[in-house]
């Protein structure tokens, strides 16, 4: 068996079927409950069905591209997949809606693929088990309509108990069910798992009364369930509020520390300049500088942005701190490096950062929206046009003039209508292909068709070590590709298809040529 990745930090897990209106939803729920009971009876785990998209394990039926970067392939071959435990999509199990599913859990493959069997396997992934090469194991990668016969195969049972321990209470002595007639072919046996279910012949009246009872019980159960969900929802809401306050408090403390650090550095700089001036005046005659321009002093206000104090002008939008900021977008444009943050940009040429930057992006590209708050991504395409991604639209400029017909929606590029924004757009030096990324997904763009390739999106994990939800990426003049997130960046090693250094480096040093602060240790020294 293989224990794969993180496990759930608790043993009481919730699950929910997403496609509740699909024709066989009832049967799906029943089968999933049965599959979960197998894992439950062989470990400390307990499962509870809820009607919420916050459930730990979401059961989804989907076909072909379904937004997770792992597309299904129509009938046959790939039947389903699941994500290992974790936040968000962690634990979710996806089943290929193009398969012919048999929801009755019987051994007859001619009626379709035994859903119960596949669900048992996929939920093994949802709990943290990887594939096993033991052909008798449920976690064997290839579909085999094998029977569990009330007892999980040893390999799987050892794996799940290693993760979540075994049940304390001992189950009553195992009473094998009356054996069903096994068919002649080798592996066609059923997954039957109700050892203690009595067999009896009810009469019609008693059965109807039982059904009514059963419905009443289920209605009460559902009502209790919904109350429970509302209670949990309120709990979550309180928890989220507390976390929000926590986060704000931490942010204020961080900015206070930054401000103090900045002031300390400012004192050091003034001290250094004064010492230099003294040394300078003691050696050479003083030559008054021809023009004295008042350098606007900028000091971070309470939220870390630099407020330019011009004595004679009205205060403009607060500018980001060149040496302490993440980047929304970055690109080489006409051989110079442009870095974008909020509505501002820096321009770095052969002799370094141009004076007077950051400046407003709209001073260069005035056709961008009046109320521009941030640029999501920028790149220079093969026709040397400059492409800006802002929200669900993109703008194409010929130099500083907006090309006719723009802006256009992202869907014009073949991107899904559900996509809210692009994180990064870059031309990859390795093969000169153009890529767009967003969240956990990325697309390859086909310059000749003007559309993204149909076999995309794919999962960002292919760019090993970069992670999800990056801020931006670009190809520098050295032909290498760099990925950015928060205050750091990774150089990407094309040959190894992974980051050249697992720990991100500080962006401000390399790209803005900011001096290293006194308490910062060089990566080499580190």
């Amino acid at each position: 068996y293989v224990l794969q990745g993180p496990k759930w930090s608790r043993t009481d897990l919730t699950w929910s079927v997403v496609n509740r209106t699909m024709p066989d939803a009832e049967k799906v729920r029943k089968m999933v409950a049965r599959a979960l009971s197998v894992w439950e009876n062989n470990s400390k785990l307990t499962f509870r069905e809820v009607y919420s998209d916050q459930a730990d394990i979401q059961i989804v039926f989907a076909r072909l591209q379904h937004g997770d970067g792992y597309k299904f392939d129509g009938p046959g071959q790939v039947l389903a997949h699941a994500f290992y435990p974790g936040e968000g999509r962690g634990g979710d199990a996806h089943f290929d809606a193009d398969e012919t599913w048999d929801f009755d859990g019987v051994a007859d493959d001619s009626r379709g693929t035994n859903f119960l069997n596949v669900a048992l396997h996929e939920l093994g992934h949802s709990l943290g088990l990887g594939h096993s090469s033991d052909t008798n194991a449920i976690m064997f990668p290839w579909y085999q309509n094998n029977e569990v016969d009330g007892k999980l195969p040893d390999d799987d049972r050892h794996g799940i108990q290693e993760l979540y321990g075994s049940k304390e209470k001992t189950w009553g002595p195992y009473r094998p069910r009356p054996t069903t007639t096994t068919t002649t072919t080798t592996t066609m046996r059923t997954l039957s798992y109700y050892p203690d279910k009595p067999v009896y012949r009810p009469n019609k009246e008693r059965e109807r009364a039982r059904d009514r009872q059963e419905q009443e019980r289920r209605r009460q159960e559902q009502e209790r369930q919904e109350q429970e969900d509302r209670r949990r929802e309120r709990e979550w809401e309180r928890e989220r509020e507390r976390q929000r306050q926590d986060r704000d408090q931490k942010e204020r403390e961080r900015q206070e520390r930054e401000r103090q650090e900045w002031e300390r550095q400012e004192r050091v700089r003034i001290e250094w300049e004064r010492a230099n001036r003294e040394r300078y005046t003691s050696q050479k005659p003083v030559t008054r500088p021809t023009t004295t321009t008042r350098r606007p002093t900028s000091r971070p206000n309470q939220n870390g942005w630099h407020q330019q104090t011009h004595h004679h002008k009205k205060p403009r939008k607060p500018k980001p701190d060149t040496c302490m900021t993440s980047y929304d977008a970055i690109s080489m444009i006409r051989g110079e490096l442009f870095i974008f943050r909020g509505p501002f940009l820096w321009r770095i040429g052969a002799s370094g950062l141009y004076p007077g930057y950051p400046t407003e992006t709209r001073r260069h590209w005035s056709a961008l929206p009046e109320n521009l708050t941030k640029v999501d991504a920028v790149y220079e395409n093969k026709r040397r046009q400059i492409v800006f991604f802002i929200g669900r639209e993109y703008y194409v400029f010929n130099s500083v003039n907006l090309a006719p017909g723009y802006p256009k929606p992202l869907t014009d590029l073949g991107l899904p209508s559900t996509l809210s924004h692009i994180d990064a757009s870059f031309v990859w030096g390795h093969n000169n292909n153009t890529f767009f990324t967003s969240g956990t997904l990325y697309w390859r763009f086909n310059d000749s068709t003007g559309q993204v390739e149909p076999s995309y999106p794919r999962d960002m994990s292919i760019w090993s070590g970069v992670g999800y939800n990056i801020d931006t990426a670009f190809q520098y003049v050295d032909g290498k590709t760099y990925f950015f997130k928060n205050l750091g960046y990774w150089e990407f090693s094309d040959d190894h298809m992974k980051v050249a250094h697992p720990r991100p480096k500080l962006s401000s040093r390399k790209w803005m040529q900011c001096a290293r602060s006194a308490n910062e240790v060089d990566d080499e020294q580190r």
Binding site: P6, F83, Y143, D459, K498
Partner: protein
């Protein structure tokens, strides 16, 4: 069973983590021994004779219905959040 083309084999090995998925993108050419190793690993996992070649048993195996999750831990596929990862294969827990 239709014979498996080299491309089918190649894509299958990448899809199920017998070869780094990143080759889907980089198209880095792989040495023959890397390819043979990957085929042998697949054959061992699938409990068929380990020949390192795309023989009939292997062609049958890659057409059998299966789970879409990879067979080795690699590059964090199907992990909910893609932490830094050396892109190597995960340690298999011994039985």
């Amino acid at each position: 069973t239709k014979p498996a083309s080299q491309d089918d084999m190649y894509n299958y090995l990448m899809q199920f983590d017998y070869l780094p998925k990143s080759n889907l993108e980089s198209g880095n050419l792989l040495s023959d021994e890397k390819l043979t190793e990957a085929i042998e690993s697949l054959q061992a996992f699938g409990n068929i004779p380990v020949t390192g070649k795309i023989d009939a048993a292997t062609a049958r195996l890659i057409q059998k219905p299966r789970c879409g999750v990879g067979d080795h831990r690699s590059a964090n596929s199907f992990s909910p959040d893609n932490l830094y990862h050396d892109g190597g294969y995960g340690v298999r827990v011994r039985r």
